[in-house]
Structures are given as structure tokens and as C-alpha cells.
Amino acid sequence: MTTVPTAAMSDVRTTTRATAPLGRVLRSELRFILRRPRTLVALAALAFTPVIAGISVAIAAGSMSGGRRDDIAGIAMLVADNGLILPIFVLLLAMPMMLPLCGAMWSADALAGEASTGGLRNLLLAPVSRPRLLAVKAFGVAAVSLLAVTIMAVTAILAGIVLLGGEGMLTLSGSTMSVPASLGRIALLTLLVTIQVWAVAAIALAISSTTDHPLIVLAATTGGIVLFTVLGGIDTLSWLHPVLLTDGWLDMADVVRDPLPADGLVENAFRATCYILIGYSLALARLTTRDG
């Protein structure tokens, strides 16, 4: 191996240089997603939800209800005069449908959307490795999902402090947490919710890699979430429940219990990680075998 000609070495170098630096590609992918009007509309809707929720609690304190959802109704009881719990409330409110759908939408755009406009064909033909292409797309979806959840949490913190006030955070266990500790819990929930959205987005990306129609991705993901929720509600299928991604979503109210019961939250994150792994693996397999 010591006799490799210098020419070959320089060849290798030129090929490496031919691909753009990863940082720049990731930045441009993100800019590309954020420039789409529907992305901006979705982010704005997520940013306004906490404000609307905050105003309705401030006007009609105590009469908030979560419809048929016990977990939301329970937290809603604590929202009045307890502004820092508003981020927890809105994140849990958006967890079962709103946030997963946003994640699915970005995944749908990433591959199926590109395919429907013919853009994916160019990308597949370009001298870029398919795993790298998928990594860039997956990064874009993950980054914008994190951004969406964070925007929601931050506007909820502001709306909570301004509209509802309260010092520290009253937990479900009846203790009052200091402001830094409360912000820590909010950050934790933001992260946990993001991981769940990533899991949905990963599965959606796998579906996205098989079709040219972004709507199919959205429909399949929505159908999947509804199906999982229904299965999760059937007691005789309790053996199946630990496998369902949606199963732990309602238990995330655990972040406002004191002391923090970590077990369920860790299990949730682990379950989501499994789905992320499966989703990206399938997307990778499909993208690799897909003809240019």
C-alpha cells in the first residue's frame, strides 16, 4: 500500500472536494424548508396556540377543560394563576395530533414533495451518496421539528408569565417549584416531545421515500396515529400497548410530578428511539434501491 501513486491520491482529494461542505448543505436545506409558506404558517399556528390558550384561561379561569382527555383536564385545573405550567399544558395539548402532523408534513415535503416536482430525480442522479442525501433531509426535518416545539414552549412561557403570572410552578404533587427548576422541567418536556415528533417524522420519511405524493404520507401518518390511539384504548390488547408509539404520549404529564418519576419518561424516549431507528433504516433501504 505504500506504492500508491501520487496522482491517485490527488484524484481522491478532488472527489472529496467536489461535494459541498456538510455545514453549508445542512444550512441550505434548513433555509429551503423555512422558506416554504406552509412551514411558516405551521410555525405561526404553533406560536399562537399558547397565546390563545393563555388568554382563554385568563378570561375564564378554571373553566378550561380538555374535552374527553383526562390528562389535559387534570393539568387544566392547575393552569389558572400558574403561568409556568402553561407550556406543559399546550405541549401536551399539541402532542397527540398537531405536532406529529407538522413533523409528518415536513417529512412528506422532504422526499415525496421533491419527487412530485421532479426535484428528487435530480438529487438522486447527482453524484451524492444516497445515505448523505437522506441524512441531509432527515436533519432538515429534525431541526425544523425541534424549532417548532421550541417556539411553542417559548411563546407559552412568555404567554404564561404575562397573562397568568404566578411565582414558580405548582406541580401536580402540590409542591411549588422554583423558576429555574420549572424552566428545567419545561426544557425536559420540550426535548421529550421533540423526540416523539422525530419518531413520527422518521416513520413518515420512510413512507415519503416510497411515494411521489406528499398527501399519501400525511394520510398514512394520520391514519397510523388514529389506529395506534384506537388500539391503545382497547384493554384486551394491553400486551401490545408497550409497542405503540402513541401509548406514552398521555403519560408525559409526569414531568410535572414531584419528585420526577423518570421510569415512564425514559421508556417513552426509548420507544421513540426504536421508531426513529426503524423509520430511518427503512427510508435508507428504500432510497438506496430506488432508481434515479
Binding site: D71, L78, G174, F270, T273, L277, I278, S281, T288
Partner: protein
């Protein structure tokens, strides 16, 4: 196309790993594990060590399961495997947390006062300890959350009328345990087959109690730790300050403390026991108005989530849909010296409820509850 193959095998490995992770989540912990090796111990020594052990400072989670098919009054969490979190400092301070979907009831005994926090009502009930410095009575919510004490009391009460044996070892809450088995002596008239107490090999704290009925493979009642850690606990866990804006009600410690749930149910019941050991029959007299009250409001277990409404007595008898009528459909009508009543049989026990409100219940055949009812005044 070597790289394509490599990529595909990576993808396959990733999928397999993800699926394996999910399977791991779905498989019950500790299944198929060999029982731990522990030094042999005689049944008498084990019983003695259980009865003499002080419950140390500990934290843990307690799960309750019942296959009775009957709603048990004040047995929280028996519906959906919800776990109860318990903490104690070993010196009389306790913290019990009963999480439910989006709500929590927290009971804290700080050594001087018992506090009950109910998040769904944002309310606090404060009960100072009585003059003797002891909590007059444990709130109902936390009474079931202490399998260790319950098991000790059970072993203490039952050992005289039981064959006591050590049936190997097992694992409970990830700790090696001895299985102490109490079986009724042949003279006992009971529907139960055995009571199985899992005793922690190290601390000798009972970690789990299972009650098994004749002809049933699954325990009829199972209460035990799913997580258990002994060691000093953070003192702040046993302090409570009512949060701002919460409704605080103070209760007289000398009154019967009934906790939040089955309010008013256990008052004036005139509880008595007949017999001893396995064929103990518990008798009580139900106030008349409760028997004729519409069923939904009398039912102590209630549905999940309506804890707030429970216990507030609503409109009285209009004659329809009251517990007595329901008994007619559930049970078998019997009559005797005690009057007329209904017998309800379950795998683990029998209950007799008469029309004038006498109740006899025990883990015994029908004959024994009727005998007990006949002795009632």
C-alpha cells in the same frame, strides 16, 4: 455495488435493532429468570424475622392487582395498574403519591400533620395528629399503599391457624426474596388456598402479598412493590406547605378520618368480626338511607376521574336503581333467622347483605357468612 450492499445491510441492522427494542419493551421483566440462590431458612425463623423487622427508610412503587371481579372500596389504582409511589423515613413520616391520568393525590404525614393534596380540585385537607402524637387513622388512600405493613399484620394474624412454609425464592422489584407461604389448616373453612408473602432476603421487609383462591391460577389479590430501594430519604419529601390559591380544609383529628374517596361510607358501620383466622367474617350494619340511595352515589369505587363528585350525597331514594335492587340481580336470595338477604359469591369470598342493612363478608363459603349473620344483633 459493494457500497449499496453495505448501506442495505446497515439499514437491515437498524430495522432489526429497532424492532428488537420494541419487543424488549413488550416483554415482561424478569420472565424466565432462574430463582436466586439464597441460604436456606426455616419457616419459623423467617416469620420471626418478618415480625421483628422495623420497616426502614425506603422509596418505591407499589402496584395493586385484583382479579376479584368486584369493585373494592377505596382500592385506588386497582383499575389500570396505576402505580402508587411511596416514601418513608422509617421514623413515622410518610409520603404516598397516587398518580392518575393528569391528576395526583398526594398524602404526606410530616410527623405532626397529615396533608392530603388533591390536584384535580386544587384542595388540601389538613389533619393534625391527635393528642397522643399519632395520626388518628391513616387516610384510606394510603392504607393500601403499604404492602409491607399489611403483609406483616396478615402474617401475624394468620400464622396461628396456618401451615407455614418457605417455598423457594423468587425476585420481586428486582430483589431476591424468600417466598413465605401460609396455607389454611384443614379445620379452617375458607375459599382461599394460600397466602404468599415475598420477603426481601436482605431487609426482611415483605415486598409482596398474593392471595390465591381455590381453583384459581392467578392471584385474586396481589399487592407489592414494583420498585424498592431502602436508604435515607430526602427530608423535603416529608414537608408540605399548602400552595397559594388552594382550598385548605382542616379536619378534627378526633373524628374518624376517611380520606377523600369513599366519604361517609365507613362511618357508623358498626364493624365487627366473627371467628378468627381464615374463616374470619367481617360484619357491619349499613345505614338504611344508603341502601335506598341511587346506586351511582353510593358506590364507593366510582369511576376514574369523577373523584371530585364522589361522596357528595345527592338526591335520596326515589325507589329505583338503588343498591338493593341491584343486589337482587347480582346475588341469590336467602332467608333465615337474620331475615331476608342476598348472597353474592365470588371466587375468593362470599358476602351476605340483608334487606335491613346487615352485611357479613369473608373469604368463606356461604354457610359461614350465614352463621355470622345469625349471630348479629
Amino acid at each position: 455495488m459493494e457500497t449499496k450492499k453495505t448501506v442495505l445491510s446497515f439499514a437491515a441492522a437498524g430495522t432489526v435493532a429497532g424492532v428488537a427494542g420494541l419487543v424488549l419493551l413488550a416483554s415482561p421483566a424478569g420472565a424466565g429468570e432462574a430463582p436466586p440462590e439464597l441460604p436456606a431458612i426455616s419457616p419459623d425463623d423467617l416469620v420471626e424475622s418478618v415480625l421483628n423487622t422495623e420497616i426502614p427508610a425506603l422509596s418505591g412503587s407499589v402496584a395493586l392487582e385484583n382479579n376479584l371481579g368486584l369493585p373494592l372500596p377505596g382500592m385506588p389504582g386497582s383499575t389500570d395498574g396505576a402505580e402508587i409511589r411511596v416514601f418513608t423515613d422509617g421514623e413515622g413520616k410518610h409520603r404516598v403519591q397516587l398518580p392518575d391520568s393528569g391528576t395526583e393525590t398526594t398524602v404526606i404525614d410530616d410527623g405532626k400533620t397529615v396533608w392530603v393534596w388533591n390536584s384535580s380540585e386544587r384542595s388540601v385537607t389538613k389533619v393534625p395528629h391527635g393528642a397522643d402524637g399519632k395520626a388518628h387513622e391513616k387516610p384510606l388512600e394510603s392504607r393500601f399503599a403499604d404492602p409491607a405493613t399489611a403483609a406483616r399484620e396478615l402474617v401475624d394474624a394468620m400464622q396461628k391457624d396456618s401451615e407455614v412454609d418457605v417455598d423457594g425464592t423468587a425476585r420481586v422489584a428486582d430483589r431476591p426474596v424468600y417466598q413465605l407461604v401460609l396455607t389454611p389448616k384443614p379445620t379452617e373453612r375458607t375459599l382461599l388456598r394460600e397466602v404468599r408473602v415475598s420477603v426481601d432476603s436482605e431487609t426482611r421487609v415483605p415486598l409482596q402479598v398474593e392471595v390465591l383462591a381455590n381453583g384459581q391460577a392467578e392471584p385474586a389479590v396481589k399487592a407489592g412493590f414494583t420498585e424498592f430501594a431502602d436508604g435515607p430519604q430526602d427530608a423535603s419529601l416529608f414537608q408540605f406547605t399548602p400552595p397559594e390559591g388552594a382550598t385548605v380544609t382542616e379536619q378534627d383529628p378526633n373524628e374518624e378520618f376517611r380520606g377523600q374517596a369513599p366519604k361517609d361510607l365507613f362511618g357508623d358501620l358498626d364493624l365487627n368480626t366473627y371467628g378468627e383466622g381464615w374463616d374470619t367474617v367481617l360484619t357491619a350494619t349499613i345505614p338504611n338511607d344508603m341502601l335506598t340511595m341511587p346506586f351511582d352515589e353510593a358506590r364507593p369505587g366510582g369511576d376514574r376521574g369523577d373523584r371530585g363528585d364522589r361522596g357528595e350525597r345527592g338526591g335520596f331514594a326515589n325507589g329505583s336503581d338503588n343498591p338493593l335492587e341491584l343486589l337482587g340481580t347480582l346475588g341469590k336470595q336467602v332467608s333465615g333467622d337474620f331475615g331476608t338477604g342476598y348472597v353474592i359469591s365470588a371466587n375468593v369470598g362470599t358476602a351476605l347483605i340483608t334487606e335491613d342493612g346487615k352485611v357479613a363478608i369473608g373469604a368463606v363459603p356461604e354457610q359461614v357468612v350465614i352463621e355470622a349473620a345469625e349471630q348479629m344483633k
